[in-house]
């Protein structure tokens, strides 16, 4: 097995033979953090750019969802159970953390099954789990829905915002706003959906794809594989993370997803509505769907965000430090947008680890775009 250093050397060798800059997108918040934490970004040649995409589920969740969660938390008989990342995301009327300080019952759980247990223990209260996450998380939530239905636990429901990564990647390529040379595909989403899920993106949309793990070694090897595809003119769905990801993924988890959810057109922060990119609860499990249980939630009038550039950051178009609020009005202790709230958000990563490197990469990405435009 080659070492991380050898993979980095391979990247440098390939890069030195390039006549243009290359831009790859990582579509997983865990990759975003790992690229900073391991120092990988700072070790890349200047003509190889790694930009972050819409890979943080909290970040791509729209304001209206927080408003719905807040409206539910305001009900005295409701317990809102959620992963920790969601409690600080500001909606129109504040965050769940603020709601909790004013008496709302908002509980942070480690697993959706903890939320289901809470419903078992509190039969007089309604427990609503905030179902946010990609295909890595959604099967676990599906399992709780199925379990609640089978056991007739009628005080458990899910406020769903589950999303599928692949349609967002396809929409970014189709949109053409950010010009990419390939995707570092999300390792743990791929444990569920399998590496062959990216075949249409690679074969039909001409985009090199490499499913990649999260250690420095993995990311260096994955980037090397992407560069090699570009050099050899291949557009394939490859798998670097073979110790966790198979071509077909996890069949039991996929079948659980299909049983409980159907594909739906849903809105992403920064990307608009993407066809078939959401996972909505099927009619058979309507009793566990918080939106159908409370169809007339009193939601505040939406306000325009002032100056927040999360949408462009999520499309890989803007580096966080090119946002007028970054580090000034928007910091991890006082976040304006979700990309600063989530520990996996691009803005939070830049704030904690320093973002000068990426400011360069976005500029180079534009240069790369111009070069390719002229080359036809």
């Amino acid at each position: 097995m080659k070492s991380t250093q050898e993979h980095l050397q391979k990247i440098r060798e390939y890069a030195s033979g390039l006549d243009r800059s290359l831009t790859f997108m990582e579509v997983c918040g865990t990759h975003t953090m790992a690229a900073f934490r391991t120092g990988l970004r700072s070790l890349l040649p200047s003509n190889v750019n790694l930009v972050s995409g819409p890979g943080c589920p909290v970040c791509v969740t729209v304001d209206q969802y927080i408003d719905e969660a807040m409206a539910l938390a305001a009900k005295p008989d409701v317990i809102v159970a959620t992963f920790g990342d969601m409690v600080r995301v500001p909606g129109t009327g504040g965050s769940l953390q603020q709601a909790r300080s004013q008496g709302a019952d908002v509980r942070v759980v480690y697993s959706p099954s903890d939320a289901l247990d809470l419903a078992r223990k509190c039969p007089d209260r309604d427990v609503v789990f905030l179902g946010v996450g990609f295909e890595t998380t959604a099967p676990a939530v599906a399992w709780t829905v199925k379990c609640a239905a089978e056991e007739n636990i009628d005080n458990y429901s899910v406020l769903g915002a589950h999303k599928r990564v692949l349609p967002a990647m396809q929409a970014l390529v189709q949109d053409g706003e950010v010009n990419l040379d390939g995707f570092m595909c999300p390792g743990h989403v791929s444990v569920i959906i399998g590496s062959q899920a990216y075949e249409p993106l690679a074969r039909q949309q001409g985009m090199p794809c490499v499913v990649t793990g999260f250690e420095a070694f993995d990311m260096a090897e994955g980037l090397g594989m992407l560069l090699q595809q570009v050099r050899e003119g291949r557009t394939e769905a490859e798998n670097q993370y073979t110790r966790a990801v198979t071509p077909e993924g996890n069949p039991a988890a996929k079948s659980m997803l299909d049983e409980v959810f159907r594909h739906d057109d849903v809105a992403w922060r920064g990307l608009g509505t993407i066809p078939d990119s959401g996972l909505s609860i099927r009619d058979e499990y309507a009793r566990c769907d918080a939106r159908r249980r409370w169809p007339d939630l009193d939601l505040p009038e939406r306000r325009e965000e002032q100056g927040c550039r999360c949408g462009e950051v999520l499309r890989g178009l803007r580096s966080p430090d090119a946002c007028p609020l970054f580090g000034k009005a928007c910091t991890p202790s006082n976040p304006v947008g979700p990309c600063m709230v989530s520990t996996e958000g691009t803005c939070a990563a830049h704030y904690h680890y320093g973002g000068a490197q990426d400011a360069v990469s976005v500029q180079s990405a534009s240069a790369s775009q111009a070069e390719r435009g002229s080359a036809g």
């Binding site: 097995m1 070492s3 991380t4 997983c28 918040g29 865990t30 890979g55 943080c56 589920p57 909290v58 992963f83 990342d85 480690y110 697993s111 959706p112 099954s113 903890d114 946010v132 996450g133 990609f134 890595t136 998380t137 099967p139 676990a140 399992w143 999300p186 390792g187 743990h188 989403v189 444990v191 569920i192 250690e215 420095a216 070694f217 993995d218 073979t242 110790r243 966790a244 996890n250 039991a252 988890a253 659980m256 989530s342 996996e344």
Partner: protein, 68 residues
């Protein structure tokens, strides 16, 4: 949010298992895996095991961690 952690299975009872994550015991759901045995390594996400590692997978992981 899509973090996943490797853990060793120390006890299995139906769809529930006890795993050891860096010395800490934790109850996890193994409904998405076939035939989980004590001594298996699994990848955990949000309280669910989402992948069983083979002996080769574990060896590859240990090799990578040595490289760090």
């Amino acid at each position: 949010m899509c973090l996943a952690t490797p853990a060793e299975v120390v006890e299995v009872e139906g769809m529930q298992a006890t795993v050891d994550v860096h010395g800490t015991r934790r109850e996890v759901n193994v409904a998405f895996l076939d035939d989980v045995q004590v001594g298996d390594y699994v990848l955990l996400h949000a309280g669910f095991a989402i992948r069983k590692w083979t002996a080769e997978d574990v060896a590859a992981y240990e090799e990578i961690m040595k490289d760090l």
